[in-house]
């Protein structure tokens, strides 16, 4: 089988890679781009450990073929922070002890960001449904949900402070 | 004298005896004395599959542990957790 040439944006960087037609985006991100923060828990779209934001949509990268990423903008957990430091969700997860083993954490952070991007002030129920596609077996979700809510509050406070200035 | 208690599995070796009194400084000498009284019991008790509880404290690999004078000693299956 011949390889397909793909050009896309990953975490803000223009990236080119070759892939087979049946290779998943998950495998391309991990094995070709070296982004090991994207995790494989099931390869069937049921656990959310491989979550990325693809052209603004929360997506299981195991359910996308790598050639479909042509021209797309992809965000993984590796792209969440910036030169100024961690994303408020990352800070909140650390402060709120929202991770135990940590294997699901990248997926939850990406799912949390996808939520806050479209709904900066979610209710607890909205948070719970927004991350319902992500499995965590360690925490019982309590501290994850609290941390996403805490990050939303922090971001709101920060943006209000900015407006005041 | 330490009091040694046998659960139902070990009672099959002791011929139904549930409890004995023993003078022993360590678990090893206690087991040796048990084996003298109930031949074959020593091998059972010294195996890796058996833990000992001295005054409520469950221990594995306890052969050289001291046995206080009036201790209560129980033998239990060695267990693990998840």
């Amino acid at each position: 089988m011949s390889s397909t040439h793909v050009t896309c944006t990953i975490n803000g960087d223009q990236v080119e890679f070759l892939c087979r037609g049946d290779q998943t985006l998950l495998d391309a991100l991990r094995d070709t781009a070296g982004l090991i923060g994207v995790k494989e828990g099931c390869a069937t779209g049921d656990c959310g450990a491989c979550s990325v934001i693809l052209d603004g949509r929360l997506t299981c990268s195991c359910l996308v073929l790598a050639p479909e990423a042509e021209g797309a903008a992809i965000l993984t957990v590796e792209g969440m922070g910036g030169p100024d430091g961690l994303h408020p969700l990352q800070e909140a997860f650390l402060e709120g002890a929202a991770l135990q083993c940590g294997i699901c954490t990248p997926g939850f952070l990406v799912a949390g960001k996808a939520l806050l991007d479209r709904n900066p002030d979610p209710t607890e129920e909205q948070v719970r449904y927004a991350v319902a596609g992500n499995l965590c077996r360690c925490t019982g979700y309590d501290k994850i949900v609290r941390s996403i809510l805490a990050a939303a509050a922090d971001m709101k406070e920060a943006s209000e402070a900015k407006e005041t200035v | 004298m330490a009091r040694v208690f046998f659960g139902s599995a070990l009672r099959r070796v002791t011929g139904g005896v549930e409890e004995v009194e023993v003078e022993a400084a360590t678990v090893r000498s206690l087991i040796a004395e048990m084996d003298r009284r109930f031949p074959g019991l020593g091998e059972r008790l010294a195996s890796g599959g058996v833990a000992v509880a001295i005054d409520g404290e469950i221990m594995t690999d306890a052969l050289y542990e001291p046995v206080p004078a009036d201790a209560e000693v129980h033998f239990l299956p060695a267990m693990g957790g998840g």
Binding site: G102, V127 | G56, M79, G81
Partner: protein, 762 residues
């Protein structure tokens, strides 16, 4: 909704700890929120091959022959192994994650020989240049099976005419010894007093039957390994596990290698819950690598995880309990049979020992049967065996309380074990905090909150032993006065933060100046597995002891520098102080920078077989709403109180409590292995094996109870396991309160609940 921490009830106030009991950000947290942390599947080496495992499609079959010649002839295939490549091992017991492991069985579980005993049983493996090539090679392996009758159900497996898995297995623990082999590996009995007389004294007796299904630990990270075996036979194994020393010991044993030729480097572990306390693909990868002369990586698929690893037992149980009118329990009788999977070693004995452990009962006869069947060999799962038995005992106790008109928490207090009382399993309890967990719930607003229609409230309690065992730690003081703390305990739930907190407390320096490390098998002393809720207790004791040696050394260095006697030097707040206060104190940094002049680098190690593990109790309360149209059960509110002895890092204690509860909710409401008539698992994926998700759940409120364990310097009790013991019974009791239906079968899935409601209405 607040983000504040849960409640805490402390029996003995702490003696003024500075670090213990605080909530610093965990040291490994940054790597985990940025995607940098390396888990089992995240390592790749140059020239690495990909391994894949051929698994049985049959639940029970004789292997007439395996022909691997076509696979071996494929250009991209570099090695093939089958059971014949593993040494023939005699039956030999070793320390395992649950009951003692038999290496002969373990070897045959890792790679079948003669017979396959469950669908998913490994019987060959290949290493090839790509995964695609490896999978093609598996297709090319020809296996001639003689399919045999199989048995999954535990009672069917015990029947005299059941298909026998092991012709050489005779039930242990029965007199006279049986003459015919059977699937009953062993029987155990715990008894006291006169049960008949006890029941005769009872004013109320309840007898019920229970069924539970096998459930998987459900860690999100599939088993993964990279092994690199050199020409000299030395092998480096990188994998995630609950014990890298265990991986070394077990791999050496199964391959007939010496442990010293194997180095195991612990990857971050993506959940274990007991399921990673044994080996599956690790020895296979090491052997493939040896054959191929190249590194080999094996990563299980989720289907392989379900079909080839875990789960814990399904069971059949009959329980009879009697009490006097005043609520005092007078007699108990129980019959428990647990599925062990393909090889002996279900946790039934621990189920028997734990099920009535919270209560003082004068007369009982409890018997358990360990039964092999054609499903994957069970592996430890969080308080192995205890949740199953407690589902039965705690449900029956609830019914007794109801018949007597006694509040369910009150009946637990009436019968609660306390220090000095004799446990069901034999010895007397040392200091314990069971009563305090019950009282903690009585003190919550949840206890008296009103309930709506179709809603109900249930409570249940649970016990787990907790363990000590072997641990090692090494502490180095760095040039800047910070410290590295190395242990051999894989960190699953935040234990590095706990180790750092204990080291900070002992050394008197800031917790962020401590670097806690999980070191490989060649860099730290032998350490048993992360399991049995033992790490904070046992490895913590090794860390404390190593730190105390370091402090003694630091004091000696200060005495040398001041030219005073050692007893003139005290260690206060991370500094050496002269007792008269007439010298400027010396900090760790000053002492470390002078160390070349005072005897060289400052470092100390401690290794111990930790004694003094303190028993754990949990009492939980849950509110449910049952949809009378569908039978669906929704958890509305949940509060868990647990004796942690002393919470070193309360956030991660809460995390263990909450995580255990939610696994129990899954076990209670949704999760089960479903087998088709051929013994093939029908739901080997997360879509159909339905674990709880965030939208299924409320917040899980926690009350940390601190009744210090006298066997630990800070009073620590293990907290990892007991939280999963009560949930199924608490939910069943709540469902009863809501519907008037007693459910004796797990999971309490909508069809079962609906059927019970409809039967009740008839």
């Amino acid at each position: 909704m607040t983000t504040t921490a849960g409640a805490k009830i402390t029996v003995d106030p702490d003696p003024g700890y500075k670090w213990v009991g605080t909530r610093p950000v965990r040291h490994d947290g940054l790597d985990k929120v940025t995607g940098r942390a390396r888990f089992g599947a995240d390592l790749s080496l140059p020239g690495m091959l990909i391994g894949a495992v051929l698994r049985s499609p049959h639940a029970h079959a004789r292997i007439r022959s395996i022909d691997t010649s076509a696979a071996e002839a494929m250009e991209e295939v570099k090695a093939v192994v089958t059971g014949a490549d593993f040494p023939m091992l005699e039956s030999e017991e070793g320390a395992g994650g649950e009951e003692a492991v038999d290496f002969r069985d373990l070897c045959r579980n890792v790679m079948a020989r003669d017979k396959v005993l469950y669908e998913g049983h490994a019987l060959a493996a290949v290493a090839a240049v790509t995964r695609r090539a490896a999978l093609a090679a598996l297709e090319a392996i020809e296996v001639d099976y003689e399919v045999l009758p199989h048995v999954v159900d535990v009672e069917e497996a015990m029947a005299p005419d059941a298909p026998v898995l092991h012709e050489d297995m005779f039930t242990a623990g029965v007199d006279p010894a049986p003459e015919a082999p059977s699937n009953i590996a062993s029987r155990c009995v715990y008894e006291r007093g006169d049960v008949e007389k006890g029941f005769a004294e009872a004013d109320v007796v309840v007898e019920r039957e229970f069924t539970t299904r096998p459930v998987h630990q459900g860690y999100i990270e599939p088993h993964a390994v990279v092994a690199d075996t050199g020409e000299d036979g030395r092998s480096v194994i990188w994998c995630s596990s609950q014990g890298h020393f265990m991986v070394r010991t077990f791999t050496a044993k199964l391959l007939g290698w010496s442990p010293s030729q194997i180095k195991v480097i612990p990857a971050e572990i993506g959940g274990g819950f007991g399921g990673k306390t044994t080996v599956y693909v690790e020895p296979v990868a090491a052997l493939l690598s040896r054959k191929a002369g190249r590194p080999v990586k094996i990563v299980m698929t989720r289907g392989e995880v379900f079909k080839g690893t875990g789960p814990t037992s399904g069971s059949k149980m009959r329980v009879k309990l009697g009490a006097r009118r005043d609520g005092k329990l007078v007699a108990a009788e129980a019959w428990l049979a647990y599925q062990a999977g393909a090889f002996k070693g279900s946790p039934v004995q621990m189920g028997v020992m734990c099920m009535f452990a919270p209560y003082d009962i004068p007369n009982f006869f409890l018997e358990g049967f360990d039964v092999v069947n054609n499903m994957p060999k069970t592996a430890a799962y969080r308080a192995p065996g205890a949740p199953i038995g407690a589902f039965a005992s705690e449900t029956v106790l609830d019914e007794i309380a109801e018949e007597l008109g006694i509040d369910p928490l009150e009946i637990r207090l009436i019968n609660a074990v306390e220090e000095g009382m004799t446990a069901v399993y034999g010895p007397r309890y040392r200091r314990i905090g069971f009563r305090e967990t019950v009282e903690a719930l009585q003190g919550t607003p949840h206890y008296s909150a009103p309930l709506g229609s179709n809603q109900g409230r249930g409570v249940a309690s649970g016990f787990w032993f907790n363990f000590g065992s072997n641990s090692s730690a090494t502490v180095h003081i760095n040039e800047d006065g910070g410290a590295s703390v190395m242990t051999g305990s894989p960190d699953i739930g935040g234990s590095r933060a706990s180790m750092a907190l204990m080291a900070a407390e002992e050394l008197g320096i800031d917790v962020y100046r401590i670097t806690p490390i999980v070191a490989d098998t060649e860099s730290v002393g032998f350490t048993d597995m992360t399991g049995g809720s033992r790490v904070t207790h046992a490895t913590g004791m090794a860390v404390i002891e190593a730190c105390r040696k370091v402090v003694a050394d630091l004091r000696a260095r200060a005495a040398m520098m001041w030219d005073v006697d050692l007893d003139q030097v005290e260690w206060v707040d991370g500094r050496a102080q002269h007792v008269d206060g007439d010298r400027a104190p010396l900090t760790t940094e000053e002492l470390s920078s002078a160390s070349a002049k005072t005897g060289g680098p400052i470092t100390a190690s401690a290794s111990l077989n930790a004694r003094g593990a303190g028993a754990a109790f949990s009492t939980q309360m849950c509110d449910v709403e049952v949809d009378p149209q569908t039978g669906a059960v929704t958890i509305l509110r949940y509060t868990t109180a647990q004796d942690a002895g002393r919470a070193i890092h309360p956030s991660y204690v809460e995390g263990q409590m909450q995580g255990g509860v939610v696994q129990g909710i899954g076990w209670g409401l949704n999760e089960e292995y479903i087998f088709d008539p051929d013994g093939v698992m029908e739901n080997p994926g997360f879509l159909d094996y339905r674990m709880p998700v965030a939208s299924d759940l409320p917040m899980i409120d926690t009350v940390i109870v601190e009744v210090p364990n006298p066997g630990h310097p800070y009073g620590v009790r293990g907290v990892g396991e007991v939280g999963i013991v009560p949930p199924m019974a608490a939910i069943a009791n709540a469902v009863y309160d809501a519907t008037g239906c007693r459910l004796g079968e797990l999971p309490m899935s909508p069809p079962k609940v609906l059927a019970a409601i409809e039967a009740n209405g008839d």
